[in-house]
């Protein structure tokens, strides 16, 4: 079976949905971060897939964008984890249900 663009898009959509589900349903802040990372990975997969199936895929634009996005994702994860630690120090919990100080 040759991999088609549709296959990649389906996989990426699945990955995105799983990530979204994780981000929506988990209570622990770190798992939410992991879910967000999965959504990012899905977006990267789309970049690569569209680039790869483009007839003029000589220039490595898709890979470049994906690599940049991975680097940014790494930075985002670092900031996110630092936030989790800061939140934990302040509220003594990482359960996002209990973090409702922004309630209107």
């Amino acid at each position: 079976m040759t991999p088609t663009l549709e296959l990649f898009l389906v996989v990426s959509a699945a990955l995105f949905s799983i990530g979204l589900l994780a981000a929506l349903s988990r209570r622990h802040a770190i798992f939410i971060l992991i879910g967000i990372e999965m959504m990012l990975a899905a977006a990267n997969l789309n970049f690569i897939a569209f680039w790869r199936f483009n007839p003029q895929s000589q220039q490595p634009i898709g890979v470049m964008i994906a690599i940049f996005s991975i680097a940014i994702a790494a930075a985002e994860a670092a900031v996110g984890l630092a936030l989790v630690i800061a939140v934990y120090r302040h509220y003594r919990t990482t359960n996002v249900d209990q973090l409702d100080q922004l309630k209107g």
Binding site: V63, V96, L99, Q101
Partner: protein
Amino acid sequence: MNRWIIDYLWLICAVPFAASLVILSLPNDRHKSAATLAVAGQIAALAMSFFAFLPTLQTHGFRAVRNFTWFTFGDQALRLGWLLDPLAAVMLMMIALVGLCIFVFSTGYMAGDKNFVRFFAYLSFFSGAMLGLVISNSLLLLFICWELVGLASYLLIGFWIERPSAAAAAKKAFVTTRIGDMGFFIGLLWLYGRSGTLLFYDRGNGCLESAGLAMLGASAAFIALLIFCGAVGKSGQFPLHVWLPDAMEGPTPVSALIHAATMVAAGVFLVARVYPLFSLGAINGVTPSLTVVVWIGVTTALMAALIAMAQADIKRILAYSTVSQLGLMMVSLGVGGVAAGMMHLLAHGFFKALLFLGAGSVIHGCHGAQDIRKMGGLRRLMPITFSTYAIGMMALSGVPLFFSGGWTKEEILQVTAHWPASHVPYSLLLAGIILTAFYMTRQMIYVFFGHRRSASQHAHESPRVMTMPLIALAICAILFSIVLTPAWPWLHDFLTGSPARFEIARLIQPALFLSLVLVGAGVALGICIYRNAGSQVRDRSAEIDPLQFAQPELFRFLENKMWIDELYARTVISFSWMSARLFDWMDRNFWDRLVRGVGAIGQLFGTFTASVDERGINVGVDETTIGTRGLGRLLSAAHSGQVQTYLGIIAIGMLALLLFYAWLA
């Protein structure tokens, strides 16, 4: 069969990885299935290693390579691959076999630990990463496995995470090796920039083949030294050896795995693998990079042997002996004896695993005590542990004729003696061999002879599942010497790719008598000094080491590991602290003030516009505000403060947009 195993060589490392993943997904109380899976994965790896070993026997200097493209990047293709040659084949056999013994031992040693399942998952992961490291045909793939090995060691050293000392030791191991890896990575990039490939062998175009080497020119020495930085970190060479003794905080089987089969072997293996880089442009077998390797090795070997003399923790003594033996291997590689160094690495893998597992058995029997001054008299209580430990001790000391360590040490002495650059390393190695025999004798006397002391009162022999691996490894440590003797130097010729010939006359060599005298001197010295160490059971003076009694200052210096940790704490670590403080201060006092200054300008504008607002625009707005407030109260109900609710609304909005576009199309 031969073709099949070469085509699917990657399975050797994939199977333990897969086992590790499956174990990781098991529930926490499935001890039996976790152990079964891990051991089964290791047996499969051993069987495949054996089949991979067979084709290398058939032709001399066998080398099979399979390369594939990982990804293309513009017109550059990044290629990885695996490689089977005698060096990889013997390493595979050793890692898989020693690993299997350690896995079996662990099922007994870790029984009752609440994180048993996690332990076996990490253990399989460790073994898989190391097996992948030895078969990789690309420096990049090797580097990836190298880092995985580092990660696995971090997880396992800090396995008892609730102990602060274990967590600190894991962090120390990780950060210290990372310093070396930084050098390794720079070397890797430099090599890629110069030669355009990271494949070792690629039909004449690899970076270790003549065409690739020719492109390097004078930079080869620097690249080799940068790669050596990685080996220094991983193999615990001076000055990055500090993590290895602290790694004793992990469970004992982990120490055995780190010190015998995986981790530290990786550094020596790396140097052996990229040896053409080191020896490029050698004059008389000497290059600047190899000279550095020799001196680092000899410093490490002697320094660690000296420190080992004054340690009291049974595992720490073994840890320093590992550091010292690794130094010996580095010397051997540096003076041109690649085969001798690798032979010592393999022999060391067997007997050091034996010693560590023996130490684990002793600790298990003494209910967790590790101080050798509190043991004693275990010879009668733990006969199997004692006899296997004695075999390991004699192999490590290098007793000639019957023990594998003796032959390999002789081999190393011979190549070092013929090093044209200097004779100092040779004489220092001789001193190192005496010291090794000495401190191992000291440890034996303290642990197994004399009267029982506080920790060994209720000692008992370990269960079968723990003594069986000991016996197996002891047999390996002795039988392995068959392929090492100068009369039939099969392993040596196998590694160098020439046919072995049997010649009994070569058995008797000057080096044989030399090492007999050296080991004899070390053991005799040990017995002389520690003869009475274990006999006065109630006498308080038995707690004081005779060496400490004679030379208290020197002993303190050695006992505290030559103050190297303290030196690092004062220099590198405090520098890092200082810079952190400096940046903190900058943040608080400089950047913060800058930001506040900008803020003040904003405030000024704000006050200005506020006064305009108050007087000018306020009137009509007030009315609007009252209406807005009502609306706001209505909307604020939607703001639950729950971040996930917001996220859900965003997701629904996105879905709606998507449907809208679908409808448009």
